[in-house]
Subunit: 366 residues, 2 copies
């Protein structure tokens, strides 16, 4: 599996005019090598892949050597003695690389400059070639094994969410509910939450990226639960909006509008359709219902090893949908000061349309 | 407080030859503005600060507007309509900036290129000036309020760790212990764990960055617990090595050696000493005891809003220690395949030496 992916990447070298590639993005690194370590901090890398036509190295430091040796498949683990710039230039020289592709969308400016400067001092000269989203593009169509992993992750998350929703009562605190979700995610065997759970009630539900507060849940108000698990590295992401007791007529209408927008998108998407068109199907429905000003974010996003990945399914940057893509469909309507409704499912795109990955017992009612 | 920090930063503009600065690093952003949102993903920014001599803007997108308006002090919140590059160039034009400093150690290469290209198309021309660790350098000496926050964070963590260590029994699973720690951190009121807790037993304790496994704790073997909490944004970080029952003679000696190395460093550090010298005090002790090959990492690191920050206290890159710096002192000895011992305290450097921030009931014995 990893060998096939690395070979697939090598197949793109000629098109990019490179004979080596340097991978630092953690999910790309894991996808190609099996090395699971995340980066310690945003600017603290736990390892670099160096791939040429013939060789595949993982350069890491002594803290990660043992883990790397246990996890990687098809990569030689090199433990750097000094800093990364030094280790990288030494390895490149030994590999005889001349044109090194790097991840322009992930590499830090300063590290780029340091490597560039170091490489310019050695001979033969090695040129740095910026690449954009190359491995991300390989990750966009999921392999069968990945789809199974995503299904398991979504199933775990669905079970947890069902259970938490049944437990909800007026007076419960948003933060406590979020923590309950995180606890169950872990107790059910997930690696961790894919992102901090969102539990947003009443007026807070009007904030698409609400952070759980000490607010107590009340009857009849919208409560948005947007949650995801990471299991065997693969993320799930789903959103339910629930009411304790009957919602107001306003929110009944809003809920129905969001659900209809979602269903129309779910029924329409198919391979070949552009992401922008998928977005506009849901957006137009919300617009026609008179809520056009209250759906500020994109319809959805790809999901896999990362909770957000290619393709973005929004009003900008059209990209053709392809069979095997996994993405979310999550329209929402947010009335400032009052509240919001968001509904989110994960789908895999099959030949003839979308198939749900998330379990959705309550799909057509609340 | 925030205004003073922003003014302090403005005071550096002339030296850098800039009239504006662009801040994207999340802890720097929080330090200057009070905006608490982390970045959603490594490459998904939740906001940019733009600071000139007269103005201070936080540019964010609609998902974060409400949170930003609630949290920031002294910044005008701008909600971008299109993408960041567009919003940034528009704001810079209105501000009349000519030379914009940016965070070279954090900005992604591709975003830098996009901004550079966009700015080169507008007049008057705006030049991009790379800066390195400017706000990080301001954060290195802690204000009294920050020290108090760090003490509270360390106290919470110390209480949790004491409790968990008392509960340990042979047969407990590393992963379960780690989760117990994370649960208590949250239940005691912390924002979250500062980093995933390390619980490493037996041979796993020989891995400085061990990830908790399904291994069961056994009697007489070393168990390393390396844990930290984040409370009001401020991180703690402490490590204990414990044994269930009496350790072997080998590990008694290793433990004593690590503790002596730590104490000698703790007693010696003072303002003006270089970080490399602090490191070598502990390292020499370990070397003389015959374990020189088994202490692969640095002695410590600064800690504050980030779990790892300036100064690095290691064998490379000397930097003078200053009064008010907060950092860890954490020597270790790791025997591959057998096990390891690491002991870590947080200290604040006072005029006459280090004062412990972590509570350490069991400082001289196990």
């Amino acid at each position: 599996m990893y060998e096939d992916r690395v070979d697939g990447l090598r197949g793109k070298f000629q098109g990019f005019g490179i004979d080596a590639i340097w991978i630092v993005q953690p999910e790309n690194r894991r996808y190609l090598s099996g090395f699971k370590a995340p980066d310690g901090q945003l600017t603290e890398s736990s390892g670099s892949l160096l791939i040429t036509f013939d060789e595949a190295l993982l350069i890491t430091d002594s803290r990660y050597t043992t883990q790397a040796e246990k996890e990687v498949v098809g990569f030689e683990v090199i433990t750097q003695k000094g800093d990364l710039v030094e280790a990288l230039s030494k390895a490149l020289k030994e590999l005889g690389a001349k044109r090194l592709g790097f991840e322009g969308g992930y590499l830090i400016w300063e590290l780029y400059q340091q490597v560039k400067e170091r490489l310019s001092q050695q001979s033969p000269l090695i040129e740095l070639v910026p690449l954009s989203g190359v491995v991300e593009e390989m990750r966009v169509v999921k392999e069968p094994g990945e789809v199974e992993a995503l299904r398991r992750s979504a199933k775990l998350m669905g079970n947890v969410l069902d259970r938490v929703i049944r437990e909800l009562e007026p007076g419960h605190i948003e933060r406590d509910v979020a923590w309950r979700i995180e606890t169950l995610i872990r107790e059910q065997g997930a690696d961790e939450a894919a992102f901090p759970p969102i539990v947003a009630s009443g007026p807070n539900s009007a904030l698409p990226h609400a952070i759980p507060t000490n607010r107590a849940l009340e009857e009849r108000e919208p409560i948005i639960l947007d949650v995801g698990a990471k299991l065997e590295g693969y993320c799930s992401d789903m959103t339910r909006t629930v009411f304790l007791g009957e919602p107001s007529e306003d929110f009944k209408e809003i809920y129905a509008t969001v659900r209809e927008a979602q269903i129309s998108a779910l029924r329409s998407v198919k391979p070949g359709m552009e992401t922008t068109e998928a977005d506009s199907i849901a957006r137009d429905h919300i617009l026609k219902a008179g809520y056009g000003d209250f759906f500020g974010h994109s319809l959805g996003h790809g999901i896999g090893l990362a909770p957000h990945e290619t393709p973005a399914v929004g009003p900008l940057k059209p990209k053709a949908l392809r069979e095997g893509m996994v993405f979310t469909v999550e329209p929402g309507i947010y009335i400032p000061g009052k509240g919001g409704v968001r509904l989110e499912e994960m789908v895999i795109l099959e030949k003839d349309g979308a198939e749900l990955i998330t379990t959705n017992k309550d799909f057509y009612s609340f």
